[in-house]
């Protein structure tokens, strides 16, 4: 068990190293560096820029050095906790990301819990009532859920809420709490806003995961131990919940590995539409404004979160299912 976890942990630094390189390449990808766009912006605003000033800036940011050196300066600063400065906002990146990261994680976790809370019962119902009306309804909903871009769902729900109930359901806070320091009232306000984005984000995954549960449970229901329990005269619902369900939901934990990045990814688009104060809109703005260091940090952050998500799911799965740790060790 410990060996298994240790082996997984050893891969993490390597993954992070590769991801940091990918993020850095992405930073460098746009033609020119961020100074070029900064200068363009200044000249457009009417102020003149002299060459000496440009050179000075270039030197401060180390842009005249070779790529490899720039990378190591960048990653070195990162490791010391210095995430750099956003040129567009003129503020430290860490300051910009701070609270947004918290809200992003909160939203993602809530969506994850929502997905599981809805998907597992649906999966169980569909499996025990195979080919019934309920099963078909869920299958159809699954297809529709997969086909609907989540931003569209967000738009439609927002539209209905506004058109029918006169509610404006954008953002995560009411205006009076948006800039306020944390307090119980603010948390309560957050909770009264977070449910809609949570549902929007979680719906597509719900259908997918319900399918996984259904398929697993169907496999388990035919196995001898289920037959045995049935032969003993155990009531069907007790039997299903007591044995096969426990086996069938274990793999759901492993979906965390791919579902978590998917949620983070999808959150970007939903956040833009619903104007949520999460990292998504910040990333989009940074990319559009070619504020590439901020964008790079955010992408690296997303990758780190993904790695952590995968790691947690691997460990959870190993804890739940002894066959896997035997295999891995």
């Amino acid at each position: 068990m410990h060996w298994f976890i240790l082996k997984r942990l050893l891969v993490v630094p390597f993954m992070l190293f590769i991801f940091s390189i990918i993020s850095f390449v992405l930073i460098q990808a746009p033609p020119g560096d961020f100074l070029t766009s900064y200068i363009a912006e200044l000249t457009q605003g009417g102020s003149s820029v002299d060459q000496a000033q440009i050179d000075a800036l270039r030197q401060t940011y180390g842009l005249d050095r070779p790529m490899v050196e720039q990378y190591f300066t960048w990653i070195g600063r990162m490791l010391q906790g210095d995430l750099g400065v956003s040129l567009e906002w003129n503020r430290a990146n860490s300051e910009l990301i701070g609270e947004r990261l918290l809200l992003t994680l909160l939203l993602t976790t809530f969506s994850l819990l929502f997905t599981w809370a809805v998907a597992i019962p649906i999966g169980i119902i569909s499996a025990t009532r195979k080919y019934s009306l309920v099963d078909y309804v869920f299958t159809v909903l699954n297809y529709i859920g997969l086909a609907t871009p989540n931003f569209l769902l967000a738009l439609v729900l927002m539209w209905i809420a506004f058109d029918r109930f006169g509610l404006s359901v954008t953002g995560l806070f009411s205006p009076e709490f948006a800039q306020a320091p944390w307090s119980w009232a603010r948390v309560a306000d957050l909770m009264s806003h977070i449910w809609l984005p949570m549902i929007v984000l979680g719906v597509a995954g719900t259908a997918q995961i319900a399918r996984v549960v259904r398929a697993n449970l169907l496999d388990e229901l035919g196995k001898p131990y289920s037959e045995m329990a049935r032969a003993k005269g155990l009531p069907e619902w007790k039997l299903v919940l007591k044995y096969p369900t426990r086996v069938a939901i274990a793999p759901v934990v492993s979906t965390l590995g791919w579902y978590f990045p998917q949620l983070l990814s999808g959150g970007v688009v939903v956040s833009v539409v619903m104007s949520l104060p999460t990292i998504g809109p910040l990333l989009l703005r940074a990319l559009v404004g070619q504020d590439m260091y901020l964008a790079g940090v955010i992408i690296l952050l997303f990758s780190v979160l993904t790695v952590i998500g995968t790691l947690v799911s691997d460990i959870l799965l190993a804890v739940l299912d002894p066959r896997i740790r035997m295999d891995g060790a």
Binding site: M15, I18, F19, I22, L26, A29, P30, P31, Y143, I144, L146, A147, T148, P149, F151, L152, L155, V156, M158, W159, F162, D163, S168, T170, W258, P261, Q262, L264, S265, G266, V268, V269, V272, V273, S275, L283, L284, L287, V288, Q290, A295, I298, I299, F302, S303, L305, T306, V307, T310
Partner: protein
């Protein structure tokens, strides 16, 4: 042939030989067996027709359009859909569309459009309209539908108009071309990459396999949308539409090939151990011959199914990118570009019909997914 079809449902049952004509089952080539099995899946069959229809629109959007999609007329912005009517004053009538009258609201200064039941434009099939080249070859001015007596800005807008007064239906037909073809091209690219790398990985095994598998794991662990966004943000703003188009397909394919590669590798691994492959090798067939004339044909159907399932994902991804303003950009028309018009609550409340392109996305993705599932089930000889 119909008698054979009647027998096919029991293809996998032991008593398949009972009725006359069943022997056809044994001599039928693999694709025919797949088709028979596929035909049983009614929903997939319907989806196939939907896909055919959408493909037809993508192939010749000019024919389905009623107006030039790029004509702007700011005075005719946000006209609600003028749907085709079959009833006039409580009595059935030949299909027609009502005209609209606009009036400026004296307080908000917004144009308020209302249906004008006095003006009626009968629907004509294969009517004359703007000139174009069908499939880029045949010059013509015939369109699927037209409206008698309507010209210029009077032509009814079946799905309303957008912020610049452009006809949404016509834009949708043109958008179908770009959105669908991006999906197809991106999937074609990732299929080539996937088959190549997955094939190498599965056939050679060992170190090569290990390296490719780790690469796939790495790429799959990247959060896709942020990476796509970053890559497309890097495309120069000055690029012409066609360049952006190809760049976007390459970007989508870059992360999209991994799933297919896994699939192909798995197939290769299991096929490598099959008797017929061993037999081919023993007779002295060359490596290329073993791969291309013995192994590849036996998993083509799976590749087709997997590819079909990959297209809707690509379409959705293009929609995401363009919706956020980092994919295709105006003047190019794609579903995502159109949906960009409905990016905030305000525009959706004012003009809900701007969300209609989303409906197209859903229907297309739905049809392709069901079709793909049907194909996959049909391609699997062990499915019941």
């Amino acid at each position: 042939m119909p008698e054979v079809a009647a027998n096919v449902p029991d293809l996998d049952a032991p008593d398949v030989v009972t009725k006359g004509g069943a022997s056809a089952v044994y001599v039928a080539p693999a694709w025919k067996l797949t088709w028979w099995r596929f035909r049983k899946h009614k929903l997939a069959l319907v989806s196939l027709w939907v896909v055919v229809l959408i493909t037809a629109i993508a192939a010749m959007p000019e024919f389905f359009a009623t107006q030039d999609p790029n004509t702007t007329s700011a005075r005719h912005a946000f006209i609600p859909p003028q749907t085709i009517q079959f009833v006039h004053e409580g009595r059935p009538a030949m299909p027609f569309a009502y005209g609209v009258v606009g009036q400026r609201d004296p307080r908000t200064l917004r144009m308020e459009w209302a249906i004008d039941t006095e003006v009626r434009y009968p629907v004509r099939l294969f009517a004359r309209g703007f000139e174009y080249r069908l499939l880029g070859l045949i010059p013509t001015d015939r369109h699927l539908i037209g409206f008698a007596g309507a010209s210029g800005t009077d032509i009814p807008n079946l799905l309303g108009t957008d912020r610049l007064g452009r006809d949404q239906w016509s834009r949708l037909t043109y958008g179908t071309r770009i959105s669908l073809s991006i999906g197809l091209v991106a999937v074609a690219l990732s299929t080539v990459l996937g088959i190549l790398l997955g094939g190498i990985s599965g056939y050679f095994g060992g170190l090569v396999d290990n390296v490719i598998q780790r690469l796939i794991e790495l790429l799959q662990a990247l959060p896709p949308i942020p990476v796509w966004l970053a890559l497309s943000a890097a495309l120069p703003r000055t690029w012409p539409v066609t360049w952006v188009y190809f760049a976007i397909t390459v970007i989508l394919a870059l992360l999209g090939w991994t799933r297919l590669a896994r699939e192909v590798r798995g197939r290769f691994l299991s096929l490598r151990e099959e008797d017929f492959v061993l037999a081919a090798r023993l007779v002295g067939a060359s490596r290329a011959r073993v791969i291309f004339s013995h192994m590849v044909p036996s998993f083509t159907s799976h590749i087709i199914a997997a590819t079909t399932l990959a297209i809707p994902l690509m379409i959705l991804n293009e929609t995401f990118l363009s919706f956020l303003g980092l994919g295709m950009r105006p003047p190019a028309i794609s579903w995502g570009v159109m949906l960009q018009e409905s990016q905030n609550l305000q525009s959706v409340v004012n003009a809900p019909w701007l969300m209609i392109p989303g409906l197209f996305v859903i229907v297309t993705v739905l049809a392709l997914n069901i079709l793909g599932d049907g194909l996959r089930d049909a391609a699997d000889p062990y499915s019941s």
